[in-house]
Symmetry: C2
Subunit: 451 residues, 2 copies
């Protein structure tokens, strides 16, 4: 076991970085649960034929094989899930008789893709998804709900860089393209989806050559894609382009409702806006679509995406429509952690290190630590009865803020804040650290520390 | 997607069952963190040559292959980890320069084995491991520590069936076997490890035939394996067998220390005892060994096992000894959940369903729900403005205990406990549910509900 090499695309966090990830996951879970979303985990493996229904993702699936499968071919044809949506569709069909609809679920779990690793792309990554699934019908107000919940979750994570939740509506853009008489709606949508990756000139040429649009149609499609607003004013800009279609009207009304429904959670840190360039390449969205970008980290791409899909799953008789949004936790955090922009305030949960005067005092020191733990204060006892200076350095290296000195029964104990040097008398039955020290904090550093 | 079949060995929980699993995970995490253990997650994939170092497990590994790997063989030779110990050893070696030793970590994560599925054996399962890893040296008091922490965690999970934490020491039994002059220590240990699966007669015959023991040696080995006690009295019983060896003395002293160190957490529900039959089949343990059984579920086997391994990892220059204990969360919970012995008190986190008088009131009802959420009370707003009777049944089906009725601004709101029918005036800025209703509870049923 002497040769150890990191695996590209399989990021691993150090303990202080993991504290950041846990803080994010805990906060997401808290927000999701306050809104009544139930936790679900699905198995990591799904039948390959289910995973490969979306052709474009073929090459990215990890196939499973038992090392000695000769006597049992039962697991052939399994692959690791590459998102949490395909498994959700299967879970809903498999357990439909035991679920209540509309079914609100959150799922925070790993997924795997055999992609070429690059910033923002990993082979193993953690996602946090919320979805609302209906049976046969799903009211539109759930589109507003998932956007509100995710915007609220972002607001509760103050250490993240400013985020931009960009919302559009497939009915709006499809109705617009129909209104101008575009011959191939799908082709236009795929090109518009790439408009922020290529220049306007290139997009215009693609719209003419590949989507068969006339020059004035190209111009209006690009004008539509340039519209964005944090409120309903996008609607007037769309109508000013002079295109009319019933599906366009429906899309505009839905988009206004979603954007205005999120206004309460919008801030300088969490911008919520209609952005008519957002199309989402995947073809199963049928209404609202979401993307989210981190300010200053454009190269990472969208870290939180989703939308409405009227046909999430179907067993032939019953159709299950859904709306959901998926946050890429690894995709969002690893770039911030690897730059040192975020880190935990310490590498261990401990608030207190109980110093050990001598080996015979270990039971007494354990009792002090137990008294602190019983009151919710994480504590550990020194490894050995080394000189106090060495014990203090042990705490310093880990970022443990307090060292507890047992002084024997008559003298009473003392506790020292080793950051400031203050040392005061203390009783393990009553002493409390400042609330901010009780748990490790997430420390956000400025971009100047960029490595 | 119309054909959906469960995958044998890949258990999946319904939302109310997942509430039980989350409650267990949250409590474990809380206990581990109070003792200063840091959270770590390792990647799911490890190089096959690392995974196959223990020959006996060969056939159980799931190998990964990218579906279209032709242009990039980089991921060939990867498999899914089958426990959390091999990955920990690799993590420690890979990140040793950035870790502080002794390194206390907990890891709650899934693992995979291509085993034949049966009760207590799964192909995908969640483990909760705690380990303390030293550099070159690891003090013995950490053996006591990991046992104490796990016993304390069990004590904090009152809905589990009574548990029996069985502790032994490899030095004790190896010293004993050396003391009686056994020619093949390893063979004796492997047979004793199976002594509770075969009859005493069969074990005696195996000890004679396969381990080459004389009749009086067989007798003393079986007498040793029959000893158990919740305190240090096992030591006198061992010494009464008339065997002497320095390694035996060392093992007895260590085992006394561990058993007495856990006494504070022992109870009728969590029995902690020296059990000299426990040997652990795997060969890397060098001192303390642990197993744990659930009363009334012997067929499930040990749900929590571990021990001391003086050579967890080595890079040739530095050796990393460790001691740890691993709780099989899936192995423990799925038998209890599938029998209906444990379940969540509801299928959603929501405490309150805000009833919807009419569609126009949705913003007002959202505001009521937001006011409750801001005070930590999980709430959802009714799906539709159906008759109140139907809205109440919606809450009943999910187990939501309270329905909130907005009565318009002048009349004030009312909230109804739909379990008892009490309906009282309430203000979303001040109303609190009983603390026990704030989060879903774990409900333990008697064995009579066995299915």
């Amino acid at each position: 076991m002497s040769r150890v090499t990191p695996l590209s695309g399989f990021p691993e966090l150090l303990p202080s970085q993991r504290i950041v990830e846990l803080a994010v996951i805990d906060q997401l879970r808290s927000t999701f649960e306050l809104h009544g979303f139930a936790s679900v985990e699905t198995r990591a493996a799904e039948p390959l034929d289910q995973l490969l229904r979306k052709g474009e993702i073929d090459k990215e699936v990890y196939v499973l094989r038992r090392l000695q499968a000769g006597n049992d071919p039962g697991d052939s044809g399994l692959g690791l899930h590459y998102d949490l949506t395909v498994p959700l569709a299967r879970y809903v069909l498999e357990h439909a008789g035991k679920l209540d609809f509309p079914f609100r679920r959150y799922q925070i779990q790993k997924a795997w893709r055999g992609e070429r690793p690059q910033e923002g792309r990993y082979r193993e990554f953690t996602q946090a998804d919320i979805d609302v699934i209906g049976r046969d019908h799903l009211a539109f107000h759930h589109d507003v709900e998932v956007a509100r919940v995710m915007a609220e979750a972002f607001s509760a994570l103050p250490f993240l860089p400013p985020l931009r939740l960009q919302i559009n509506n497939r009915k709006l853009i499809e109705g617009f393209y129909r209104g101008i008489g575009a011959p191939d709606i799908g082709a236009v949508m795929r090109i518009i989806d790439k408009v922020d990756k290529v220049s306007t000139d290139v997009a215009a040429k693609m719209l003419a050559d590949d989507a068969g649009l006339a020059p004035d149609q190209v111009e209006r499609c690009l004008a539509l894609a340039a519209i964005r607003s944090p409120d309903r004013s996008f609607a007037d800009q769309v109508l000013a382009l002079g295109v009319r279609h019933p599906m366009l009207d429906e899309g505009i009304a839905e988009l206004i409702t979603v954007v205005e429904g999120c206004a309460r959670f919008a801030s300088a840190r969490v911008v919520v806006e209609a952005d008519l360039r957002i199309a989402r390449g995947l073809d199963y969205y049928t209404g609202t679509v979401f993307e989210t970008r981190m300010t200053g980290l454009d190269q990472v791409g969208s870290v939180c995406s989703g939308g409405r899909y009227d046909q999430l799953a179907s067993d032939g008789r019953t159709t299950y429509p859904g709306v959901g949004i998926s946050l890429g936790i690894t995709r969002m955090l690893v770039p911030l952690l690897s730059r040192g922009w975020l880190d935990g305030s310490r590498s261990v949960p401990s608030v207190v290190l109980v110093a050990l005067p001598d080996d015979a005092s270990r039971p007494a020191c354990d009792a002090i630590a137990d008294a602190l733990r019983a009151r919710g204060i994480a504590a550990e006892v020194s490894e050995s009865a080394a000189k106090y200076g060495r014990q203090i350095r042990y705490a310093e290296r880990r970022g443990i803020p307090f060292v507890w000195f047992p002084m024997g029964r008559e003298n009473g104990d003392e506790v020292k804040d080793i950051r400031h040097g203050d040392q005061v008398p203390a009783d393990p039955a009553t002493w409390r650290p400042p609330t901010i020290d009780l748990r490790p904090q997430v420390i956000a550093r400025t971009g100047e520390d960029d490595q």
